[in-house]
Symmetry: C2
Subunit: 392 residues, 2 copies
């Protein structure tokens, strides 16, 4: 991975989670970075989400540090706000920067008081251990029920030089559009102002994290932050910004796909494409409803080409369509033509459904051009095992 | 069970499902009954649903027979309409009644052609075997992945005499508001006209089946029919009709609760009550979102008092509320007060959550009077096992 210039990272174990495994981390640009972030749309928002939002607003999109912890969401507790504030103050002091330049982020259990001492005491240690190479350690420290570290990076070669984008993400289980228990931190060394970052981030999120669902739940803590250090000294012009945004979207898509593939108990990544609808929003809703259907997701887990469940899910999506114009493809095999069963080799298709990536395509013929993608994972017994005993 | 007067029933094995177990049944009022029905709101509707709707419309709410089969949904196939029509014709001929007085209903796999011969050949046998006592046999014949027969009955004593209501239902897995893979047939011997039945059925359904969810999926075949034979010779007046509707609602609630308790893999019935919202629709949406949350349902399966997930689900329901005014009760124990953790004995509550019935109550203080109920079941590994291999 080629990391963006101008950042240092550190992670350590503060004792917030039970297992002895890094649970707090710091991301620090060499100079105050331009920044943008998107947050959960859940009405119940964790203290760090509310504080990060305020800090970004009052700083006009400037970030000198991200402090993140796993193991406790710092949400729905009496002391949530004061804990978040205390931790930001400590970081500001250690790094000699302004409190409003610090973004806090947390993930973990809701409703359990987070001991501020654990965070506050970890900060000097983190500040002392910052290094250019700490990227992966931070990516590891933010994980909860994830089984794999999630990182992605890209380079873009512009006329005036190369810029780098690298992101890390944590997310499993509750992942869903409007972003559930997703933490993602994306760094670039391009020189870009906060308002431009914000526009790009919002559009790129729509096409990546917001097209992802694991179980339909959304969380109280989701945070996706984008920092631009400017350390490459390359300032993309209007045209180059389009390219930058496209590459940023790839990085986010890549992270989102890693999250889907690592959904709790997941064995398969499912890609859904809905096409032939009148409006993009219709196509999106059909794809999303299929992605959220437990019956579809268990069928895929069992390599069962039960396309009737896909058709039925589309049917209750709330989108008006003509069932007799619907074609459905599973692993590129036509299984439903004009709303009724097509001829296909069931045994062969079952074998194809054993692959780690499953493609579902649903197309309405002759009614429109709009299409949309969505991705998710299969629903296995592992999901139940993990979530029946997460807290205790 | 005291059965309504004026009905006969029969069930037999027609070879539609693989296991040798009755899969086709007939319900026949002695005289043409007044009737009403509600059907799935899925855009994809099975042939028998579309035909039943047409028949009820053209007959003005008259039914001489219900023909029902399990094992094949007769949906999304080339021959669906002609199979449904052929089966109704055969019934009309055997019972010497009009084709439009026959309601067909089917449940089972989607997209597999249903051999009309199997249905047509079973009808004379069914007609010959009709009996007053066949109620339970029919209730058994309509089951698919259900593990238990679902029946409920009530009597109402009016001034002029007693009327009876008895219902049977089939439903597991896909059960959800707007009625997924629910078949329910409710018979009464009261004397009531079709338009009154229709009004009462719609209101009673809203408070029972439409407040039930197992996995958020809705089906292509849901049918809930209410027949009134008039054989009691008791004709409820305007005031008595209100009582009748209340008792009808109990019967439907009872059936819906049996369905929730028998959700695929379910071990616990979950009752959710949301109160203190501005509008009933808001309370309903909060309760429904909690009922549909896989994270809440797996926590309950694991007897984990993880109320944070309940709060988070309410938060993404789309209903505006003030999190700092939310109280949550689990098994009548206050676990969250004013949006933050309350003190409670976790071990004791875990034991209480092992009970087969779990109560969740979420209340907003001082913002409104509206409340709503919803029920569902826990989400266990059994659900995955059943649905990963239902078709094959």
């Amino acid at each position: 991975m080629s990391l963006p210039l101008g950042y240092r990272y550190a992670a350590t174990y503060a004792g917030i989670r039970k297992q002895q495994q890094d649970d707090v981390a710091l991301i620090v640009p060499d100079r105050v970075a331009q920044a943008a972030a998107v947050f959960t749309r859940n009405i119940v928002q964790a203290a760090p989400v509310r504080l990060s939002r305020r800090h970004l607003q009052s700083s006009g999109g400037k970030v000198a540090a991200i402090l993140v912890n796993a193991g406790n969401a710092n949400c729905a507790t009496r002391t949530g706000d004061s804990v978040a504030m205390a931790s930001c103050r400590t970081v500001a002091k250690a790094l000699r920067t302004k409190v409003r330049y610090v973004l806090p982020a947390s993930t973990g259990v809701i409703g359990v008081e987070l001991n501020p001492k654990l965070l506050v005491e970890a900060v000097p240690k983190l500040a002392a251990e910052l290094s250019r190479e700490g990227f992966e350690a931070v990516a590891r420290a933010i994980l909860t029920t994830d089984t794999r570290v999630k990182m992605a990076s890209e380079q873009v070669h512009f006329r005036k030089g190369t810029v780098r984008i690298a992101g890390m993400a944590k997310g499993s289980g509750m992942i869903h559009p409007n972003m559930a228990t997703t933490l993602a931190f994306v760094m670039t060394d391009a020189e870009l102002p906060a308002p431009a970052l914000r526009q790009m981030l919002m559009r790129a999120t729509e096409r990546s994290f917001n097209a992802l669902t694991v179980d339909g739940d959304t969380s109280t803590n989701d945070t996706l932050a984008l920092l631009a250090s400017g350390a490459s000294k390359v300032k993309p012009d209007a045209k180059e910004r389009k390219v930058f945004e496209e590459v940023l979207t790839w990085v986010l898509e890549n992270l989102a796909e890693q999250m889907a593939a690592d959904g709790e108990g997941a064995r398969k990544l499912i890609r859904i494409r809905a096409a032939g609808f009148k409006a993009t929003e219709d196509a999106r809703r059909v794809a999303r409803t299929i992605a959220n259907s437990p019956l579809v997701k268990t069928a895929i887990a069992g390599s069962d080409p039960n396309w009737g469940r896909i058709l039925a899910a589309a049917g209750y999506s709330g989108v008006a369509f003509d069932p007799s114009r619907i074609d459905i493809y599973l692993q590129r095999v036509l299984v439903c033509r004009s709303g009724v069963a097509a001829e296909f080799d069931e045994q062969e298709l079952k074998r194809k459904l054993d692959e780690p990536e499953v493609h579902i395509r649903i197309v309405q013929e002759g009614k429109g051009q709009a299409e949309a993608r969505f991705f998710t994972c299969d629903l296995t017994e592992g999901y139940i095992r993990i979530n029946g005993s997460y807290r205790t």
